[in-house]
Subunit: 392 residues, 2 copies
């Protein structure tokens, strides 16, 4: 599946952004996506037991409408998480105001928030900006870009991906740079298409695509309380071939996942981590998670250091019953460990290879025939600075 | 149990150190502890599936002798891990040389190695230094200190603790600053006593003490391939009261565990992490592990930032089926989160509290009556520098 090099928009959606004044920077912090004729919807949410208010609210709205959405409203700068009844009330007030302005039911509004946890959501500021938000909406690439930028927090780059499949178009955008750990959906991801599909079918397609994309990447050890992936289908382009839809969805999700890792907080190296020779997909994930979460592996990568012993140690404590004598490790095409023992390699060559912004690491477990690819990154002093100095 | 303020040595042990030339720094890198009349022994090893050669060898020796040790030989600067048959041969050659020089069986020698993984162990260098190692041995505090220093790698401080119980004395020393994650034994720990006890009893006492001390601390996410805790009992002081022995063992292990965390790579803040209201000890550990492994929590601590939302998020993704509405979080005596919602607190006061080198964090889960204390630390830019620049 080839992705488009520029933003392509599906029919049936309008986008907008505004500055409500939550972010101290004064950057846009309120975003709206509108489906004037409505859209079928499927969503996936964080597996964290601490679930932010807008997720609880959005899940309930989808249940009540049977998977119909007219408006998506997102604020950045405040997660509306651990905010109790007041947070719930604030979220419903914002949804109510959007519904009134857009001429739809309150349950047809899908809310989201991202930012600091535990700070009351300033609903009045958001509500005040809604008229402006509605009037600025448009169905063009510039408006979609404004949406994509307004949902950013510590992201340094806007993230979008588009694809065509048959008569239909898929546009995706997301935000996320920290608190990125593959456990169900990751951060805020919005996928818009004009293909026609029922909510149940959308749910199946979304689950399959997320499983091999957003669930296979991480930046740090932390699963967010606000992770949401939402897929909306306006139906304006008619029913697609399911296979084409699935391929487009996976390609767009994979592109967005890689964009998240590449823009991860302080990230200097993106690592394509391939696990082969596993007995199951879950086993491959467990090994990839141990490697991708290892502070020692990630700091070695930051230093472009071919310290494969740390990778082997992480494989060893992953919880998978590996036999070290069957483990091979490759950095790019270079074997650094064969059957659990050091292979001959030239350190300078390896250091040069690992100095590239993107490189490949492959671990073969010698247990089975299953393989999977993951996307992870290094751990730099910049990550520490960003997160030690982030204001509560 | 009060610990002694200086090194106290049990009868029946001699200590020594030498410079074999493995460390490029030229610091002592070979250590010996000798029990001239032998000692009963119990040991615990890493749970990592990748097990370094000396651990395989030491475990086999203990099994063959039924838990008798005459000599402990430790080298620093090389882990002798992932070194294959050559590593095994090198380890046995070193044990054989020590046995010959000490006049005991090769199986009575307990070996250990710590340092870089995957580099061949230079056995000849070690063997050449053994005569000097034997001749420099002594049964005094200075010799014990030389032992304690020679086992260090990235440690900046020697770590020792001593206690008296009845007529007996317990002396412990350890090394460890990185690759510290609580899963069974952690790094190299040596405990010497003149109490009289059978290997089986020593094993039980050691297991109990390790469970509540070394298994309850971490520096980073990484479980080493060389973790070893060894307890030796010369018997020179006769049989102890088991309760007193257990208390002394726990106190010495707890002191050493805290010293490891305090000397953790780049550590600026040591955190006494108390989990209460769990249904089991395993549940408390699981929550503590999620918090102590969280890069976002650890970086917030580095910045003395009262960002309790990250702690709550880690509790939420720990895998324990917590109800957020029952979770309270305290920084010292200050409540920052009550029933999953922000509590009122003064940020300046909290920032000052968290700026201390040691502080308390308490999380109550509201699920049961079990509580446990853990020791963890912050994640600083220095940790990244140390581990990104560490030479392979």
């Amino acid at each position: 599946m080839r992705l488009a090099s520029k933003i392509l928009l599906p029919r049936g959606f309008e986008f907008s952004a505004a500055t409500a004044g939550i972010k101290v920077s004064g950057s846009p912090d309120l975003a709206l996506a509108l489906a004037p004729h409505g859209a079928n919807a499927a969503a996936m949410f964080t597996t964290n037991r601490v679930v932010a208010i807008p997720l609880q609210c959005g899940r309930e709205h989808l249940r009540k409408t049977g998977g119909r959405v007219r408006a998506v409203v997102v604020n950045s700068g405040n997660a509306n998480c651990a905010t109790g009844d007041a947070g719930r009330f604030a979220c419903e007030r914002v949804c109510g105001s959007v519904a009134k302005a857009a001429g739809c039911e309150q349950d047809e509004v899908f809310p989201a928030s991202t930012g600091i946890i535990g700070v009351p959501l300033p609903a009045d500021k958001l509500i005040k900006a809604i008229p402006q938000l509605l009037s600025a909406r448009a169905a063009d690439a510039e408006a979609a870009e404004r949406f994509a930028r307004a949902i950013m927090t510590t992201d340094t780059r806007m993230k979008t991906a588009s694809a065509r499949f048959g008569a239909a178009t898929l546009f995706g955008t997301c935000k996320g740079a920290g608190m990125i750990h593959p456990r169900l959906a990751t951060m805020l991801v919005y996928l818009f298409t004009d293909a026609e599909a029922r909510p149940r079918e959308l749910g199946e397609l979304l689950h399959d695509a997320v499983h091999v994309t957003f669930n296979r990447m991480n930046v740090d050890t932390d699963t967010s309380t606000n992770d949401t992936v939402l897929l909306l289908a306006s139906g304006a382009a008619g029913p697609p071939k399911r296979k084409d839809f699935a391929a487009a969805l996976q390609a767009v999700c994979e592109s967005l996942a890689k964009q998240i890792v590449a823009d991860g907080e302080g990230v200097k190296h993106v690592v394509n981590l391939r696990i082969d020779g596993a007995r199951s997909d879950a086993e491959a994930s467990q090994v990839a998670k141990a490697i991708g979460n290892s502070m020692l592996v990630k700091t070695a990568w930051a230093g472009a250091d071919p310290n494969w012993g740390r990778v082997l140690a992480a494989v060893g404590y992953s919880g998978v019953a590996i036999d070290p004598a069957k483990v091979d490790i490759f950095f790019g095409k270079y074997a650094v460990c064969r059957k659990g023992v050091a292979a001959r390699f030239d350190e300078e060559t390896l250091h040069a290879y690992l100095s590239q912004p993107v490189f490949d690491v492959r671990v073969t477990l010698g247990r089975g025939k299953i393989g999977a690819t993951f996307w992870t990154c290094d751990l730099t002093a910049e990550y520490v600075h960003i997160n030690a100095d982030y204001h509560t």
